[in-house]
Symmetry: D2
Subunit: 300 residues, 4 copies
């Protein structure tokens, strides 16, 4: 069994808008500090959303999505890389495709793409209205993304909310633009129309139907079951993702003052199960990711 790769994801803006500890998304110092502390605690992948803004109105293309602050992404990435050397994974599902491709020039080592529909319903506190997100991801879009990723030396993170993503994964892999081993994240308990239940049965079902040559990672958005499901994932060979975005609560039900506390809990859990934790370089080797060139080269 490979060493355990821990991903940290800080941005809870959409998923837990009431999280009082989340800094403003423009406060790059605070956000970078969260990532760095988490890497020091044991995370080897940082999943970040840079700076982005949800559009207030429907745009000329008939869609209302998130707008990318390119410079913000660049600065956050540099701030993290200047202090530690995790795998940098760019998230932000709700950006336009062309903007995501442009972000690849910042040379993240990984970049996320949902291989199924986005249909989320975030309402951690029923007293407040829900944040809903809807987006189709047709196969020609997946193809464009993966071709661009391959050209830029970026590894695609295949986000899987249900088995439809596996079908698309194989479809894209047959085009030769999704190199082995694939890195896939299974999402359980994310409320909405892309929901897979956060149960042990569902986890085993998703894992047993995974295509071959795939490293899998688990994200659970459900404070009641997340830690138990993470324990199962660690026991059966999966990797895990934690952070304020997925679930800000520690096992005792209190909110984590820092994302590093969530990472530390995974590290302790892995120790009790007997699974060593990967360093960033070990994670690169397991995931088949090349280290990014030094940042200084990126800005001639």
């Amino acid at each position: 069994m490979d060493k355990l790769i821990i991903t940290v994801t800080v941005d809870s803006t959409m998923s837990y808008p009431g999280n009082p500890l989340m800094p403003p998304i423009e406060d790059l110092d605070a956000i970078a500090a969260e990532y760095v502390r988490s890497v020091e605690a044991g995370a080897s992948i940082v999943h970040h959303h840079g700076i982005h803004y949800l559009e207030h109105e429907i745009q000329a293309d008939g869609r209302r999505l998130s707008k990318i602050d390119f410079s913000g992404w660049e600065r956050l990435t540099e701030m993290i890389r200047s202090r530690c050397s995790p795998i940098v994974q760019f998230g932000i599902a709700s950006a336009r495709l062309e903007e995501k491709i442009k972000l690849m020039t910042l040379r993240p080592e990984m970049m996320s793409y949902a291989f199924n529909v986005h249909d989320e319903f975030f309402q951690p506190d029923p007293q407040f209205p829900a944040n809903e997100m809807y987006a189709l991801h047709p196969r020609d879009e997946l193809e464009t993304f993966c071709r661009a990723a391959q050209e830029h030396g970026v590894k695609t993170e295949v986000e899987c909310f249900y088995t439809g993503a596996y079908w698309n994964l194989e479809f894209i892999r047959r085009l030769g633009i999704l190199p082995d081993p694939v890195w896939a994240t299974i999402f359980l308990g994310w409320q909405g129309g892309a929901w897979t239940p956060p149960t042990p049965d569902a986890l085993l079902y998703m894992v047993e139907h995974l295509p071959a040559n795939v490293n899998w990672n688990l994200s659970v958005m459900d404070s009641q079951t997340q830690w138990g499901l993470h324990a199962i994932a660690i026991a059966i060979g999966g990797h895990v993702r934690v952070g304020w975005e997925d679930n800000p609560y520690l096992p005792d039900g209190t909110i984590a003052r820092s994302n590093a506390e969530l990472v530390e809990n995974v590290v302790r859990m892995a120790e009790t199960i007997g699974r060593p934790v990967a360093t960033p370089d070990e994670a690169r080797q397991i995931a088949g990711v090349e280290a990014a060139a030094p940042v200084t080269e990126a800005a001639p």
Copy 2:
């Protein structure tokens, strides 16, 4: 265990465009005859698509969908109802919502709605290009549909391609517009980004996670596994759907000359398992569907 309810669905235009036995969609005589023969063979629900046309170009609303021939739907329904009395279930996922609601005035006893994304990839013969369908079904759309269905005395068929549909089912049920028992169809093996694998494990997974108070029905679009999965469904209490739309092939690999042959195979299979087949009136009682008023009343 309830008696077995068999649904028949004839229209293979999209799913098996090469089916040489499929009459033109305007040939209502031939199509009605297929439905009537199937009911005589044991089907108690007829799932039909009336007459419809895929739009050739993108329309003013920015979408390219199917256009409903209202009169065609009316005539086909009457032709069937004049010769037998199955539960009439209207399909056609790719119509506009307002047109689907207008169809309710024809008083089908059931009408289908996908409670998850449509993302199909039909390519039974790899020598021909695939038919792809994409459509989001946001919750406000589901709500509008179900309210209208309830007002018109139409029972919603909840189409479930993966567990996200269950989440939406519960969401809509909490609004009080999806009366018990819910009628849900599980779709396995439908290629594309909404795919759930056609395996016994996947079937049990989908069944074991079903919400309470749901009658379930199984559609499998995979000629290698359909009959075996149907046997499992019959054994564990599900209902089954067959017809040219889902799989035109008999167990011996030959194409069914009539949809009735596919229904007859289910009837024989059920006999060997010991599950009696429901008549249309028994199906109405199990599914909680009221019989439609006589057709003549509909056209004063």
Copy 3:
């Protein structure tokens, strides 16, 4: 998927003592006729118990088991083989080991041995007392049996009531005395302390944990679930065993007037699922069984 091998087992003396159609065990004409009719209906393996008597008192070896009428076994085998050519499989779990080995000189093509404890509780009618059977099968006994079987050119049927039998199977296989492919029967629903529940989940569990290079066969002693579980077995590649011993009831709940009716039901079921039925010679090839030499050679 291999063609379907059907085993028939007639003797319901222990399991359904109230079966009014079961001839006395000494009525070899009637019993042989049951087997022959079943082979004509599609069975390719006949599992028989010859003539045997349960000892009335505890014997000198401290055990109360079944006594073998060697000549009865010989005559029944010849009566069957003179009229058809199925694989002959000797059963009778409760005989002494030395008597079972002596039976091998009759050259059955297969012989059954429980690879786990016998702990049965037969009480199909609660108004009558239960028939209970208990026997340990230590590994040295399994080894002696399998060595003798190999020397006599007899294939061992590995009876598996739970996964402990798999452990023993692998243990004996490592000794080199259980040639591939192994022939194993999974028993579900047999009441008593060796019980595995007759559920689809249990069947999949048993099948998914099977050792490699094993052909599996299913026996279910539960009239409510037997036919459904057999349908699942046929769908997923297993073989099936039917007969008065396991369940004398047809799917409609009536008692089968002949074992051949039970076999015919399996044949029809397999047709509806699309699984061809093996002839005895095809069964020999699938199971890796050599045809017995002509009977005449056996009695010089």
Copy 4:
């Protein structure tokens, strides 16, 4: 979900005869100290084997079992109870029934009985010969044991190596001599003919088929998978048993210098999952066990 009940079992004489840290079974001081340290670390049930000797020769009753040193059991129990107040559970499967019943007069709060065959094959080091144990447990024996337990105010621990034990559990419960909630232990990975594989699938299978009103506990004898399976058990509501008997190795592969280290690892694991650990009195309430009367009353 109930708080987590941890059982500790020290005696590795049979299962890991090479364990260099195991004191001689007569060294009650050392053994009691192991139990007390483990209770201080978080165990609330102590499973002990007192002092016992495997008979060297077959006895007059034709069996070779373990002989009970009654006084040794009494002293060990008192030594533990004088220093802490766990639930005392008597083990020793291989004793004669009458001796086990006599042990009930020492008023353990629980006493273990295998509800299926004993068929163990202990060979942790392949260089040494295996320890094998075989014993049938017929239903009349289970009945005698449970009646005696009920009369003595002792709760039966139902040992379950496969689902046959569940059938016997229900059989005995119908006799009214196995009060709710039943306390059952599931054994995975114990080599031999009673083996259930130490896999997540097997664990879920055993848990999902459990009879109603049963608290379950998990024992795994497999150093590679034990800690992962314990994590799953803790996550899904089971209780866990650890100790030198089951697996003397810590997650990092080193041997535990004390059983307390194994308990501590469970406590840490439970913390990371968010499951609080039960005190002995909380364990009594969950398991439905009455506290034993003070020890002084026992020796008038």
